[in-house]
């Protein structure tokens, strides 16, 4: 289940992002929203991308597919199946999007066109990448897709509008659209955030199931560590536009090697907890325009030393982890975020 980290850092990965920078030019110079993002996803793998709102996790993924806002400045390298995407003509990117790389968005109601029937929308997704498809064949494929995402009575549903669907059903429709053209990579941007908890579980199981059935790679962008723990193979934690830690999911939760990751895991409320107050990382995420010098996390970090304030830490390799902390190797032993007295039980729940 745990995919090994490729030695050369994902040279043969399906998608490989290297030193991706996304900035917005403002009145006071460029605001760096993504700063040197390094990521890779391999076939058949689920990569969880975790971070707070505004950490640049969505923006980084969107920008690597050429979906950034018009005023964004993008640099770096994004290779999909060995081909560079940054700087590719829009037309070629368009042919790639929705065909080999698909996306699912957070809110399935606003992501569906309210004045088009669900059937027409899925048919459009097919038509966009295969103009020769006959209407009959397309309709047959739409029905198959709706069955694939377990929508009951697809024949009746095909002519309905998005508002006639429940939240979970809408997300299933979005997923059906996303996998319509047998993509190799599926980027799910907070796919369950707008859904209630029981539906969340169904959708996540379905995504995993589809991943296995269709053999696709899945990038799961989320701020929900529970979703990541349950469904990702590998996790990248993003802070202030940069990957601060990356490891296989079990190892990340068992022995986080970056203070930020530790803070995140410690913030998860636990049933066994007796304290009245929930833990939270002190301070707030930095403003883009006023990133602290050195390590971006140092003002909130309990382990911060002088070097953290002056030098931006390079990415260290600690065992199978990659961690952007000066003290990645020398952090004190991890106790599962339960306080000093608590037993060590590995927070892989």
């Amino acid at each position: 289940m745990t995919a090994p980290i490729a030695e050369a850092d994902g040279v043969d990965a399906l998608l490989r992002i290297r030193d991706l920078n996304v900035g917005f030019s403002g009145r006071n110079g460029t605001l760096p929203a993504v700063r040197g993002l390094d990521l890779h996803v391999s076939r058949g793998e689920v990569l969880g991308v975790v971070g707070e709102s505004g950490s640049g996790k969505s923006l980084g993924m969107l920008a690597s597919l050429g979906l950034q806002a018009r005023n964004a400045l993008v640099s770096g390298s994004v290779r999909f199946k060995g081909q560079e995407l940054i700087g590719r003509p829009r037309r070629e990117l368009r042919a790639l999007r929705g065909a080999q790389i698909s996306m699912i968005f957070q809110d399935p109601l606003s992501s569906l066109n309210p004045v088009m029937t669900v059937g027409d929308q899925i048919r459009e997704a097919l038509y966009l990448h295969n103009r020769q498809m006959t209407k009959q064949k397309a309709t047959q494929r739409v029905l198959d897709l709706l069955r694939l995402v377990a929508i009951p009575q697809p024949q009746g549903r095909i002519n309905q509008y998005p508002h006639e669907f429940s939240g979970g059903m809408r997300q299933r429709v979005m997923i059906a659209m996303a996998v319509a053209n047998d993509p190799e990579l599926l980027v799910a941007d907070e796919p369950t955030t707008a859904l209630d908890v029981t539906v969340q579980a169904q959708i996540m199981l379905m995504l995993r199931d589809l991943k296995d059935k269709l053999g696709l790679a899945l990038v799961l962008i989320t701020h929900d560590l529970g979703v990541v723990a349950g469904h990702a193979d590998r996790v990248a934690v993003i802070y202030a536009g940069r990957v601060v830690e990356e490891a296989a999911v079990r190892e990340l939760f068992a022995d986080p090697r970056h203070p930020y990751t530790r803070g995140l895991i410690a913030s998860i409320p636990k049933l066994t907890m007796s304290e009245d107050k929930l833990y939270s990382i002190p301070g707030a995420p930095p403003m883009l325009g006023a990133l602290p010098g050195g390590c971006a996390f140092h003002p909130r970090c309990a382990y911060a030393q002088d070097v953290c304030r002056k030098v931006e830490p390079p990415t260290h390799r600690v065992g199978t982890h990659k961690s952007a902390c000066h003290f990645a190797a020398s952090l004190p032993a991890w106790n599962g975020g339960l306080g000093a007295a608590a037993p060590e039980n590995g927070a892989n729940d």
């Binding site: 979906l67 368009r94 996306m103 606003s110 992501s111 066109n113 309210p114 088009m116 459009e124 966009l128």
Partner: protein, 281 residues
Amino acid sequence: MALVQTTRTRFQLPDWATPTFIVGGLVVLAWLAATAFPYWLAPHDPLELAGRRLQGPSANYLLGTDALGRDVFSRMIHGARHSLPIALIVVTSAVVIGAGAGAIAGYRGGLIGAAIMRLVDITLSFPPMLLAMAVAASLGPGLGNAGIAMVVVWWPVYARLMRAQVLEVREREHVEAAVAAGAGHFRILTKHILPLCWTPILISATMDIGQVILLAASLSFIGLGATPPTPEWGAMISDGATYFYSWWIAFGPGMAILTVVLGFNFIGDGLRDYFDPRSSK
């Protein structure tokens, strides 16, 4: 079939059929009938000089006769044929041109968008009547030229409306999703943006039909629209203005304009109430 049939005791009108809408619709329908079948509805030929001059209303000449002895009532009915189609064509052309320009300006933005919107600003900075007069005068008299002049005056209104709509809809997530699905600009604009933009334009266009009829009549009144002996309402009022004591000459076409404009405004009001329930009451 275990469905329970809800009992409906009375015939119920559909939601959109508000009283204003129905009244407006009936009035407009009546005038459309006059447009379609004037020879059936009018008792006399509009150009026939048979009657005596400046006769008051009578059983034979319901609204009297004008200075040349033509039946005012018949001319009023025939006038619909010269006012309604022009108004519909003008509004349709203005919507097509304006909405098209507005959609491009809203979606593309940039230099082209700015150029379109400055042109809109410039056009709207003239008093509409004055601009229409200037254009019509330079093209020469005639209903067709008056129509062109009115399109020139009217398209910027729809361009502004459409641009505002597109700017708002463009940012919606389903548009982003369509981009992510690999859709091109044309498809995004025509399938994912424009279908959500039409409501305010439809409402405003309905109301504007009345305004355009008024403007066309005004242009004809000052001699820049229909040329004699065309029984156009504005021109007829202009004729009647010289014969102050024969009030019926201007009364007929005046009432025609009043009812048509009112009718279209009622329909527009009804549509707005239906599409945007917040604005009523």
